[in-house]
Amino acid sequence: MSRVTIPIGPQHPLLKEPVSFNITLEGENVVESTLRLGYVHRGIEKLAESRSYVKNITLFERVCGICSHIHTTTYCQAVEGLLGLEIPRRGSYIRMLLCELERIHSHLLWLGVLAKNIGLNTVFMYAWRDREIVLDLMEEISGGRVSHAINTLGGVRKDLSPTQIKKILTDLPVLSAKVRELLKIIDNDRSFKARTRGIGYLSPQDVHRYCVVGPVARASGVDIDLRRDSPYAHYDELKFKVITMEDGDVWARAIVRILETIESINLSRQIVEKLPDGEIVARAKRKVPEGEFVSRSEAPRGEVIYFVKSDGSQTPKRVKVRTPTLTALITLPMQLEGLQMADVSAVIAGVDLCIACADR
């Protein structure tokens, strides 16, 4: 049978960000696929070398348009590590709160994108409608819906007021009920299952071999979560379950993410209820002593790692960012092979690509 190569991207309705796939078909079946990155490469790592440590917070907030807060958190952790600075407990709790709210927002956004890609517009509308609740909360706390600009070296810039705490505690149960409703839909809906079950399978061995992280790894039965395995901030003081599934397909990824959203809602409630009193920021010195520091944290998509090297001046010598999408991308050609063309959209959405993150 003759082969046809279909280009998807860099600009394509299926993709939210520019990446280029070349999918070779034999009849309806995918036999080969390649991908190309670099369309949103902004040279952030190089740019960081010429800006001061504080200015870089603004820069790293812009690595990703969805999980902006976790990037600044990880960067600040690295610089605080170099400074030997311990941040006040209240500041750390507010950071964690934003991290969890961001996870809820990212997972709901992803569910909407997946639903839209497989033609389930109702779930897309529901998921994005419910996401507004958490976006409003984040706006209330930080002033920004997506770029929060709340982190600074030594803590956070804005405190939580009693009114805000009250609003968080009234809104979270509402959101929780809505997310449970979504879970019921995707768990029972026949057409959702038909489009996602058995598609894009990734075995636990492949997860290990390709160093895949986050919900994609957990949906294949690999139990990793940095919040539990090497706790940063004050995650060791909170109670939560790490969700795993054995199926390893797109459906399992959906279930894992929705259950994680419910866990994050519980975590946010715990954080607000346990919120300690006191200062929110510690004074950070302008000059960072010579040294190197590696900081890791669990973003909505998995492990984020920042490496910061300082030579004792006011600007970093080197900052390296590795985002979770980069590893998931390597497995995409493998997941697509043997599928039908119509399933490609479900698999591409299923791994939750963030191309701006992968390119930097």
Binding site: R36, L37, G38, H41, G43, E45, K46, L47, E49, S50, G81, L82, H208, R209, Y210, C211, V212, D229, S230, P289, E290, G291, E292, F293, V294, R296, E303, I305, F307, K309, S310, D311, K317, R318, K320, R322, L326, T327, L329, I330, D359
Partner: protein, 151 residues
């Protein structure tokens, strides 16, 4: 515990003790030459440490180091010195296929030759890029020279 056992085994290969390296590093690390890398990775894999978080290139004062950050509950870093004349290192993709994109990024951004890596096209840089490896140049952003790579 596995990290500690592996670290002790790796230290036999290492060029220097941790104390002689840069202060402030929060992970266990060993300093290696580029031809010891594969041997060191085999030791890590034998100790069940298979998660490669990333590869960082650090270029300064005409010397390049590649930092292979591994993780298993805690971090361990292989710090590989790249010889300036030789300018090459072996690919890990045979043992850790997940290293593929990290290595492609390193080879494009730092101009290191990675033996065993299939490089038919560019992955991150523009197709018509002909300048130096961008992260290797000693210039700072804001200089006019930054555009020199484009045709």
């Amino acid at each position: 515990m596995t990290i500690f056992t592996a670290w002790n085994e790796l230290k036999k290969l290492s060029l220097a003790d941790r104390d002689e390296l840069l202060p402030g590093f929060n992970e266990k690390q060993v300093l290696l030459t580029s031809n010891q890398l594969i041997e060191a990775v085999k030791i890590l894999l034998a100790n069940n440490i298979f998660h490669l978080s990333t590869i960082t290139g650090v270029y300064q004062e005409n010397s390049l180091q590649l930092l292979y950050h591994f993780w298993k509950g805690e971090g361990i870093t292989l710090r590989v010195e790249i010889d300036e004349q030789d300018n090459q290192v072996d690919s890990l993709t045979e043992w850790i296929p997940g290293a593929l994109f990290y290595e492609r990024e390193i080879t494009e951004m730092f101009g290191v030759k990675i033996n065993g890596l299939n490089m038919s096209n560019k992955m991150f840089l523009p197709d018509n890029w002909e300048g130096d490896a961008p992260m290797r140049r000693a210039i700072r952003v804001g200089n006019d020279e930054q555009q020199q790579g484009h045709k």
